[in-house]
Point group: C2
Chain length 99, copies 2
DNA sequence: AATATATATACAAATATGTTGATATCACAG
DNA sequence: CTGTGATATCAACATATTTGTATATATATT
């Protein structure tokens, strides 16, 4: 599948997706939610050692742009990956970065 | 390979790579250079319908950040992908965007 | 040297993104 | 209704990215 043969709209969507995850914190979040993991905001911010408000802001961004979904359970809100196939992409990315 | 288990430096590198290609023009360029293609600046800017200076600027950015290499042949400068495995990543990306 | 072609760069304006800390909202237990 | 834990938002400021246009540099040809 080649981007250059495709319409500008497709390029925009693809670069939008990349932009969204092209942030260390968001990359870490997405990576944490691979394999169908569902985690609350607290679990995420503690696990990654970032401020609660920072984690929340990134989670909202990821959700707004269609990468995550969330569901409330009691006082917690659980986030999870909405786009299947993102895990594969991260795999390729890790490969590109190490090799 | 999981990012969250890795050092911040790795996350920085990965998000840097993503940021670099997270631009419609650069995505188109990288896509054009998949499969070992070698193209001159002229060929690229004509093929993608962008100004010469715009193409050149993006090519320099991609080269500076280690994604492309270039070689002069006569008056032309040919660019090509330096990172193998980027093609695979674009494949995943296209999958994520359509599905 | 003069010209033409190919590529790169400079600069300023516009736009977007990130950061921090404080504060607001929401849900539940008692 | 109050207190507490969980989550989201806001404002202000700093930084970075993009764009357009013009111009500079390099190479080759004659």
């Amino acid at each position: 599948m080649k981007f250059n043969e495709l319409n500008p709209e497709m390029l925009e969507r693809a670069s939008g997706l990349l932009k969204t995850i092209a942030h260390p914190a968001r990359l870490a979040i997405v990576s944490l939610l691979e394999n169908g993991n569902r985690l609350s905001v607290s679990e995420i911010h503690r696990s990654l050692g970032m401020e609660q408000s920072v984690a929340s802001r990134h989670l909202v961004i990821l959700k707004d742009r269609g990468i995550l979904s969330s569901e409330r359970e009691g006082r917690n809100i659980y986030y999870y990956l909405k786009i299947s196939g993102l895990g594969d992409m991260l795999g390729c990315l890790a490969g590109c970065c190490s090799g």
